[in-house]
Symmetry: C2
Subunit: 405 residues, 2 copies
């Protein structure tokens, strides 16, 4: 949570953090501290125990104020950036601006630079600031901001819940379409078009657009054998046929910068016994994990529970590698159980055998067991859920239908 | 162009560049060297005069091969990243992996780290590599990759041309819709919905989706007074009314990572004399610039030409500031003429009074004069064009209609 920033700074003996960049686009840390998007980026400076300032372009000042995260918003012009640029050039203007801000705020202790910036210019900046006497310090993972971002506050939870509702509407629209497909000249059809992965993806995109969501990392809609590879996003020309496993994994982002992650596995028509067994194993593993997880349990324990169910059902799991029974597994439950979701689509906390820390109230994570049978197909079910002291609050209010009939 | 990388490295006495990151999303440099998107990022290492290697996740190796930019593709597993992570932790694994690669390639000279990464971890990495004896160097702007990316090769030009054609189809669909609006109960309507900025934006999004484009930085559709602010993206509840200035600025990105930038100014119905004068001044300025520009002319000269036309027509320009006739202007042509477009929506070369370098064949830039009358409205016309030795090749093949009737 945002309030942890001071605490984390004190713990690490950091006197100030500077978060900056030319855009908030795909920069979770700058989006986080600015409280929203800034088209032309900004410079956020916080001294431990004090209120921060945010320096932005004149053009972004309205947006910055609206977000309400930072009280004191100033402009590059007020800090003389244009003059520094005219006098010293673009590269030299930034370290001089930062140095000026640090002087005015009498910051002489350790300073951490944050924000996603190209490292070639970043290295220059770090070296230049150090020559100016600034004590620039690096951070090992988790950084101050990663640690703060790991637990969500009420406003963030409501935003992710809202992205979830929109995502659910998109998924429902797609499953409704799959249910209502008619057969035309021997092929399933969506409207007048043959029902291919490409046709479904076009429909997904227009449904996302109607909800004001985008999918910067794409969408997985994998049919048949390609569903056996958890990261195959689907082959556009693949046709949707009755009785084939379909893994539909959607991870959209809202304008606020927050993401959501949801996976359903479908079969159009009736499933074979083999596919039903596969699906039931995944479904049981997910249900057990959702029932088990709450603040205080560890990611490791949840992962272990998922493996228990899946192994009992006769499939292999990645636990074999951790127990050194195998060096590699290609079939079964071959990935970890989940990951945090927020201003990125994959962040702390992670739910894997390496996750020894207890989960905390306010964390938002995916719970997504999957089983994959190479060259045949796979099944994965994924909800995004909020951890609370009593259990999980499932932000994913859509049925787990398997056979679409 | 890509081939310039070696030349730029030699000029700057850099023995190797390492471009890396956890995703190519919004990282133009990593996208550029990888030749496409890598969901889980990668590490690209190039020694001067030698062929590069690209180390990626097992899951991205197919995508990486398909792009064809890098011949030698290896995996994190081959380089033992998982083992390094298990042994030393996430933070320490990366410097050890990079150090290992540099040793194997016998790189002992200056190394530049590139790729968009959070600087808190970046600082740690730089310091750690230096302690391991790596000579990490910073770069002032333009960096090696910015210099290479400034001129586009044939494949890039064709990609941007194709994004342009798609963008033009979206703009045409929107202007066709605006032309065909009917009046319902005293208000213009789009289908059954009242014609608001929000309704048009929803239509823009679904048209973008149908073309496989996204708009990560939004779209400007500003009506009436809000069009007077070049960065106001439009007020969702504003109604579209006859006789009001509309600035429609669209800047979508394709899956390849390449962008396009296009602005048109419309009036639904008939324009007043004042608005016609405004539009004609912008149109003449743009036409004169497009006729004038070619390889060898400078951005400064083009900017100057735009100001000549606009001032002759009786409006103020930002030249007043450069000539110290004013410290601030709020009315007239208040921004610069244009900027490069490629894997970002604003990059070198810039067309402003500070652009003294001659333009080069293969550069792709926007040409976008605009005139703004505060609290009243504005007009801007923008094409994205390719610079050639003979003149410009306009990648924006859509009419400049003003009155939509």
């Amino acid at each position: 949570m945002f309030e942890q920033i001071d605490q984390e700074m004190r713990k690490r003996h950091v006197q100030a953090i500077i978060v900056f960049g030319e855009t908030t686009l795909a920069d979770p840390n700058l989006t986080y501290v600015a409280g929203g998007t800034l088209a032309r980026g900004g410079v956020y400076v916080k001294r431990v125990g004090q209120k921060p300032i945010l320096v932005t372009s004149n053009l972004d000042i309205g947006t910055a104020r609206k977000s309400g995260r930072v009280e004191r918003i100033e402009t590059f012009t007020q800090w003389g950036l244009e003059k520094l640029t005219a006098r010293f050039g673009r590269t030299e203007a930034l370290p001089r601006l930062l140095d000026e801000i640090l002087r005015k705020k009498r910051i002489k202790g350790r300073v951490v630079l944050c924000g996603r910036n190209d490292l070639a210019s970043g290295t220059y900046l770090i070296d230049r600031l150090r020559r100016l006497g600034v004590r620039v310090s690096g951070e090992s993972s988790p950084t101050i901001l990663e640690a703060a971002r790991e637990t969500k506050d009420r406003k963030e939870i409501e935003e992710i819940r809202s992205v979830g509702k929109k995502t659910v509407r998109v998924v429902t629209a797609i499953s409704d379409t799959l249910k209502s497909m008619k057969r035309k000249r021997g092929h399933l059809a969506i409207g007048k078009r043959r029902a291919t992965v490409g046709a479904v993806k076009a429909l997904i995109l227009s449904n996302l657009a109607a909800e004001g969501l985008t999918a910067p990392e794409g969408t997985i809609f994998a049919v048949g054998p390609s569903s056996a590879d958890p990261h195959n996003s689907g082959i556009r020309t693949d046709e949707i046929k009755e009785g084939k496993l379909i893994v539909f994994d959607i991870f959209p982002q809202a304008e606020s910068g927050y993401w959501f992650d949801l996976t359903r596995t479908f079969i159009v028509g009736r499933a074979s016994l083999k596919d039903r067994r596969l699906y039931e194993a995944v479904h049981e593993a997910q249900t057990e994990c959702l029932d088990f997880m709450r603040a205080g349990t560890t990611g490791e324990a949840a992962m272990s529970k998922a493996c228990d169910v899946i192994e009992r059902r006769g499939y292999r799991t990645i636990r074999d590698i951790y127990q050194r029974k195998a060096t590699n597994i290609s079939s079964g439950f071959i990935h970890s159980l989940g990951h945090g979701v927020g201003l990125t689509i994959g962040e702390r906390p992670y739910l894997s055998f390496l996750s020894k820390e207890p989960l905390k109230s306010g964390q938002i994570v995916t719970v997504e067991p999957g089983i994959y049978l190479p060259r045949y197909g796979g099944a994965r079910i994924e909800d995004t859920v909020l951890i609370t002291s009593k259990g999980i609050d499932n932000l994913t209010s859509v049925d787990k239908e398997f056979e679409l009939t």
